[in-house]
């Protein structure tokens, strides 16, 4: 029961990644691509946590934590670049 539901959730998340990559490849401006990068990070952080849960290794959580803490800096530096701030 729970496994089936989790499998469906995984398929939905994979679909979200596919759509975000579509926008990344098509996106007319660089800012659209930055949005796609943001969405992909937000999908992959729970993906890494799910990998940790399924494989039962708590140390994998540290990697997800690094991405959760640092990913916004990439988008923010892109924003400051468009602003001519860096």
């Amino acid at each position: 029961m729970a496994d089936t539901i989790l499998l469906i959730a995984l398929v939905l998340a994979a679909g979200a990644v596919l759509l975000a990559v579509l926008r990344l490849l098509r996106g007319p401006t660089a800012a659209d691509r930055a949005v796609a990068l943001d969405v992909m990070t937000l999908v992959f952080v729970p993906g890494m946590v799910a990998l940790a849960v399924f494989s039962g290794r708590k140390i994998y959580l540290d990697v997800a934590l690094v991405y959760g803490v640092l990913s916004f800096l990439g988008v923010m530096s892109l924003a400051r670049y468009f602003d001519r701030g860096i």
Partner: protein, 261 residues
């Protein structure tokens, strides 16, 4: 166009090959050296994370070389980009908004604390000096993104960087004196109990030194690059004159549409 499609197909084929190798290519038995690390590594160094004892102890000289390479590249970048007087690179540069500045003030301390956690716990959890140093430098990056004109404590950074490099060498020489080989772990510090913070002898000390060194070096690199004079300043200004607003993104869009079809 055709060439791109052919390249894409070839790369997808290589990807399929890699997927097959992912399942088939794992070797079933270890070599002599790897078997020694796997079987005796925990007993010899008592580090819960075996990778750490390979990186810092068994391949310690290699790590010293990596730190030196990073130091040399940062020094080179600083020599190329240094400038004497301060002036904004672009007069049209805008300041960060209030929300970004407040968020930066709020988040710098947690991010740096997280970096310190990564390199202090290098012998217990994944990560170590390089990763923790990169996270600390990202905290500095957040400060610089919120306010470009911010003055970092350069004297403190220079002292941290050189003292930690010096202490790394001293730790290696201590191993040479006590145990007879450079960067040896045996007998320099007590090994302690497995999976505790104060364990694994000299490994956490060295990883903390590496973390401080890498963090201050990367922060200095970011600082130098952000303040650095535009190499092609006159050139760029001449080309960007007029129609600047939106020209970059929209022009890029049109060119790209032509290019990708």
């Amino acid at each position: 166009m055709t060439r791109k499609v052919v390249t894409l197909i070839a790369l997808v084929a290589v990807a399929g090959l890699f997927l097959v190798l992912l399942r088939l290519g794992t070797p079933n038995e270890l070599g002599t050296v790897s078997r020694h690390y796997v079987e005796r590594g925990i007993a010899e160094n008592r580090a819960a994370n075996l990778v750490t004892s390979v990186v810092v102890n068994y391949r310690g000289l290699d790590t010293l070389g990596e730190v030196t390479v990073l130091f040399l590249s940062v020094t080179g970048a600083a020599f190329v980009l240094r400038r004497r007087e301060r002036k904004p690179v672009d007069a049209r540069a805008s300041r960060a908004s209030e929300i970004v500045q407040t968020g930066a003030r709020l988040l710098v301390a947690p991010i740096m604390l997280f970096g310190v956690y990564i390199f202090v716990h290098g012998h217990l959890t994944p990560g170590g000096g390089f990763q923790g140093g990169a996270v600390v430098a990202s905290g500095v990056l957040l400060l610089l993104l919120a306010d470009r004109e911010r003055e970092l404590p350069h004297g403190l950074m220079a002292w941290l960087e050189s003292l930690s490099g010096f202490a790394f060498i001293v730790a290696g020489l201590a191993g040479l004196w006590v145990a007879g080989s450079f960067l040896a772990n045996r007998g320099v510090l007590p090994l302690g109990e497995w999976n505790r913070l104060l364990s694994a002898g000299i490994i956490p000390v060295i990883y903390t030194l590496i973390g401080l060194k890498v963090g201050s070096e990367l922060a200095a690199l970011l600082d130098v690059m952000m303040r650095g004079e535009a190499v092609a300043a006159g050139h760029g200004a001449a080309r960007s004159g007029g129609g600047r607003r939106g020209g970059r993104t929209r022009g890029g869009k049109n060119r790209k549409k032509g290019g990708r079809r």
